[in-house]
């Protein structure tokens, strides 16, 4: 199925751009086509549960058209291999709908601008910031092609991992799910872009419920990479563990936590050291999301929220200190992992974007439309989960930059405090100005050493206060996968990368409710 992308690209480009250019008032149109082949399996309590192979295609069309106030319209749908014989007909049908919606949208925009004059001044014509136009092919990175792995082989690995977990004393339930996927994408625009990119993803999910001295404990973690089957079979991933070893690590952690006492919230702030795995979720929620330009420009007010960095063009933190001088953060699609790509879903080459440079707020991830509004250069951050869906501004790999302190020294210098390891669950304010994030494991630090293990611990802090209080940054930079970031309407669940090194700061350490 993936091969169809390279087979149809020339044929589709010629037809699509010619047809779109004939539409009166059509300023711009683009087409995204995707084909995927996914193989998967799951096992539960050592028993096989399911296996399968899904393959399919989808496409999405954007048109910007209209009169004085141009406006966008979109259309998306799936297709099968059988549809390839008449794919032009399907695309033409979709283009007609996207165009009709754009034209109708433009008419309504002009009407409302006139009827509600006071509000109409910001209802402006849709513009895209100019970008360099590319024609390119980008191959997938893998050692073992996902398309060579059968569902039954995946099932064998899942079942073995699940059986090993089940054999541990104290395990109440476990579920292991694994998939490996090949993906091909095509981008065509009326500006002349013609880009096909290919990807491989492989991931294993482990869910465990364990019973111990302090009751029951559930734990869910996943391991994966933008790689072929080797990501789980050979441990070529950030955890450096194959699925069998990773599953056992998760299960043993769940058992240890089931024996650990629940954490009781501290009344006051304490010194906290957070590991790279915990900081993956921190960088995701409190740095990555609020540096997405669609949140900056209020597009997400009804859904995913706004940004604590930017109230409006006259009230914002651009150029100001929002963090300790030890903190630098950035997004970079050239980094390896789930967030890696060369071009985004409107053909813009992905660029490294510095968000915070030594404590000072600098810039945001954007799309061509939001870049035009912000007067910024497009940086290639406009991505969709599936070609039939409209892209959103998305993190590629958003991280805290590496520091220069040994993490052992960061812990060793703490007289009394807490060490939080591993990402669990976030609870975030609407503009991300405040957060509570729970850890998998919370240890007390006493006289520079890790002491008691607690379960159910996390930190709660005002974002700016937390970042301003960072007084040590580790030299142990890591990138972890985020498998399920939800954004958009309808919600799109996206893979991307986050991470950073060990950090030390101050926060309230919180336990259960």
């Amino acid at each position: 199925m993936i091969d169809i992308i390279s087979n149809i690209k020339e044929r589709i480009e010629g037809f699509f751009t010619a047809y779109a250019r004939e539409l009166p008032g059509c300023q711009y149109a683009d087409l995204r086509v995707e084909a995927n082949d996914t193989r998967w399996a799951s096992a539960e309590d050592g028993k096989p549960k399911a296996a399968g192979r899904d393959e399919g295609g989808s496409f999405g069309i954007r048109v910007i058209a209209g009169g004085e106030k141009k406006a966008p319209g979109y259309y998306g749908r799936i297709f099968s291999l059988k549809d390839l014989s008449h794919i032009e007909e399907l695309i033409r049908y979709g283009l007609a709908h996207a165009y009709a919606r754009a034209m109708s949208n433009s008419r309504n925009k002009a009407r409302v601008s006139s009827d509600l004059e006071e509000f109409g001044r910001t209802l402006t014509s849709t513009e895209l910031s100019p970008v360099e136009i590319y024609q390119d092919t980008v191959p997938a990175l893998y050692k073992t092609d996902p398309r060579t792995i059968s569902p039954q082989e995946i099932l064998r690995l899942s079942e073995e991992a699940s059986k090993r977990i089940k054999n541990l004393s104290g395990i109440q339930f476990n579920d292991v799910t694994v998939y490996t996927q090949s993906l091909g994408e095509l981008f065509v625009s009326t500006e002349g872009a013609l880009i096909d990119q290919y990807f491989a993803y492989t991931q294993g999910n482990v869910y465990v419920v364990a019973s111990g001295k302090e009751g029951q404990q559930e734990l869910y973690e996943y391991v994966g990479d933008q790689r072929g089957w080797e990501a789980v079979s050979e441990g070529i991933n950030v955890q450096g563990m194959n699925l069998l070893d990773f599953s056992m690590r998760v299960a043993k952690d769940a058992l240890a936590l089931a024996d650990a006492k629940p954490f009781r919230s501290t009344e006051k702030e304490a010194v906290v050291v957070t590991d790279p795995y915990f900081n993956t979720l921190l960088s995701h929620e409190v740095i990555g999301h609020p540096t997405e330009a669609d949140r900056i420009l209020k597009y997400e007010t009804a859904y995913a929220g706004r940004s604590w960095f930017f109230k409006n063009f006259s009230e914002n933190f651009i150029g100001q200190h929002v963090a300790s001088p030890l903190i630098t953060t950035y997004s970079d699609p050239s980094l390896p992992g789930y967030g890696h790509y060369r071009y985004d879903h409107e053909g813009t080459k992905g660029k490294k974007v510095i968000h915070i440079d030594r404590g000072i707020l600098k810039g945001f991830m954007n799309s061509r439309q939001t870049a035009a509004l912000l007067g910024a250069e497009p940086n290639g951050s406009y991505m969709a989960t599936d070609a039939s869906l409209v892209p959103l501004i998305r993190m590629s790999t958003t991280v805290f930059a590496q520091g220069n302190t040994d993490p052992q020294k960061i812990i060793g210098d703490v007289s009394d405090g807490y060490y939080l390891w591993g990402m669990h669950t976030p609870s975030i304010s609407e503009s991300r100005e405040n957060f509570t994030i729970s850890a998998i494991k919370t240890y007390r630090i006493h006289r520079g050493e890790l002491k008691e293990l607690y379960r159910g611990g996390g930190i709660s802090a005002d974002s700016m206060s937390f970042f301003m209080s960072v007084d040590a940054v580790g030299n142990d930079f890591k990138i972890y996968p985020i498998a399920n970031c939800g954004k958009g309407q309808p919600m799109q669940t996206k893979r991307l990368g986050n991470g950073g090194p060990t950090l030390r700061s101050r926060a309230r350490v919180v336990g259960g409710g």
Partner: protein
């Protein structure tokens, strides 16, 4: 959208094909055609914008086949799907994928056998009904045939509802309006060798709007749901959102502490969606991760509180005649007068729980003694805000969830009873912060909320200034009272619609933030 006649014919032809396959002992063919049309709104009075940002749609259709393969004396169950090809070739492709991926799942006890197909013998799911509920008129043809112009117009009407309201109140600056008008169209047909023959079609429209006066930190929400295009008024959602924002200007903060709260319908719905309903789902109980483990038959909430799922209630948006297993929808009591009485279920988990010796330890009683507590009325295939995704096997999903009280108190009286406390109108990022099992949750109050002082709504609560952090068991058992008017809430990313009154609770922990 593919016609219902086509879906039914291909399903029927497919079943004939399957009967020719010597290695298949039983099979089920599910075919669906789904369309989601959406006008996404984004207006800002100080930043250039499009008003209606995304008039768009996604169309998908295909086939999902579950088949039982005989291999010697073993039975293997396989699932295969075919996207975008509703034809006998598509059926063959899905069957072949099912064959290649079949597994010997010891917890699989057979496809659903509806009661009318039973011909003697004892069958575990003998009371499964295929007799559909008497509900009609939930697939308005005008919603099924909606034009591009109309889709765009509905989005602008939602926006204009808010803009005109702000204009009437001379609020012209620092305005943000967002949200969407969403139209769901779905058709499905299902047949099986075990006697299932069912089809269904449904359409509904909804508007979910948020309005802000950002300089005043004021945020309001509004919803409208329509089963028919003629009844649907997205401008009302925009108007409600704007009015609520106007009323919540210049909100005040409150210090951290334990408070009496009145939870509005959205707040109750968010807690249900993210904390309570997952724990009332049989698959979660089976996985030992429900916060209601071993609690069946016990009091888990205030005795005045009842929660049920009803997939067949007339005129509600998620009502359907059949589940995605081809069984009749209906009412499942989950918590009745405070007592845990039932679980959302599908056929697979019903049979697994009935046959698994460890189930008693998870549920709290012998499952065979309470079979009526988990009748498979919720075997749906959720995906992208819809219930009929052909690419997955049936899982378990709620439909219309109803919360009601046995003693009703008007809101004004409830506010007086509270005396001093907070009305919580909208929360978000509600998560089981330490896992479902623990019951701990946190969420942030982001709008539509008011400080109650001296038995009256005294002032708006500043959005994003408090986080609730408590345990769901505390909340369910510390009810003070509730109102009688159930209002619907659509939650971002969820397929169910939750109807809830306002519920007052005591002694809940709030943390001042920001």
């Amino acid at each position: 959208m593919i016609s219902l006649d086509t879906l039914k014919k291909i399903a029927s032809d497919g079943l004939e094909f399957i009967k020719t396959q010597k290695d298949i002992s039983d099979a089920e063919i599910f075919i669906s055609s789904l369309s989601h049309l959406l006008s996404r709104v984004n207006y800002t009075s100080s930043i250039p914008c499009n008003g209606v940002e995304e008039p768009k749609s996604t169309l998908s259709y295909g086939i999902g086949v579950q088949a039982v393969f005989k291999e010697g004396n073993k039975n293997k169950i396989g699932f295969g799907s075919q996207i975008g090809d509703i034809s006998i070739d598509g059926i063959k492709s899905a069957v072949e994928k099912a064959r290649l991926s079949a597994v010997e799942d010891p917890d699989f006890y057979g496809l659903p056998i509806p009661s009318k197909a039973i011909s003697g013998g004892t069958i575990l799911n003998s009371e499964l009904s295929m007799v559909p509920p008497e509900i009609h008129g939930y697939h308005d043809q005008r919603l099924m045939d909606i034009s591009d112009d109309k889709l765009v117009e509905l989005g602008w009407r939602a926006l204009e509802g808010a803009l005109k309201t702000f204009k009437e109140h001379q609020m012209m600056e620092s305005i943000i309006i967002g949200g969407d008008v969403s139209i769901v169209q779905e058709r499905m047909a299902i047949v099986s060798t075990t006697g299932v023959v069912a089809w269904d079609e449904a359409a509904n429209a909804s508007a979910s709007m948020t309005a802000m006066i950002e300089s005043d930190n004021a945020k309001g929400s509004g919803w409208d749901i329509g089963m028919r295009l003629s009844d649907f008024a997205p401008e009302n959602a925009g108007k409600s959102a704007a009015m609520s924002a106007i009323h919540s200007r210049q909100g005040r903060r409150v210090p951290s502490g334990r408070y009496k709260l009145i939870l509005g319908p959205q707040a109750v719905a968010d807690l249900l969606c993210h904390i309570i309903l997952p724990s009332l789902t049989l698959s979660v109980v089976d996985a030992s991760s429900s916060t209601f483990l071993k609690k069946h038959g016990e009091g888990v909430a205030d005795r005045r509180l009842t929660i049920y799922d009803h997939g067949a209630m007339p005129d509600l948006p998620m009502s359907r005649r059949y589940t995605c297993e081809g069984l009749a929808t209906g009412r499942t009591d989950l918590i009745k007068k405070g007592v845990l009485t039932g679980f959302l279920s599908n056929n697979y988990y019903r049979n697994k729980v009935l046959n698994d010796p460890s189930s008693k330890d998870k549920i709290g009683v012998e499952p065979a003694a309470i079979e009526d507590a988990f009748v498979p009325r919720n075997g749906f295939r959720p995906g992208e805000s819809m219930l009929r995704n052909f690419m997955t096997k049936p899982s378990i999903a709620p439909t219309n969830v109803i919360v009601e009280g046995s003693e009703i108190t008007p809101l004004d009286d409830l506010v007086k009873m509270i005396g001093d406390g907070i009305y919580i109108g909208r929360i978000w990022y509600t998560y089981p912060i330490n896992g479902l099992l623990a019951g701990d949750f946190t969420c942030t109050v982001i709008g539509d909320s008011y400080i109650i002082e001296g038995g009256r709504m005294a002032a708006p609560l500043k959005p994003n200034s408090v986080r609730i952090a408590d345990n769901i068991h505390n909340l369910l058992n510390q009810v003070i009272g509730m109102t009688g008017d159930r209002r619907p809430t659509l939650l971002w990313g969820a397929s169910e619609v939750i109807y809830s009154p306002d519920i007052a609770v005591r002694d809940i922990s709030l943390h001042s933030i920001g």
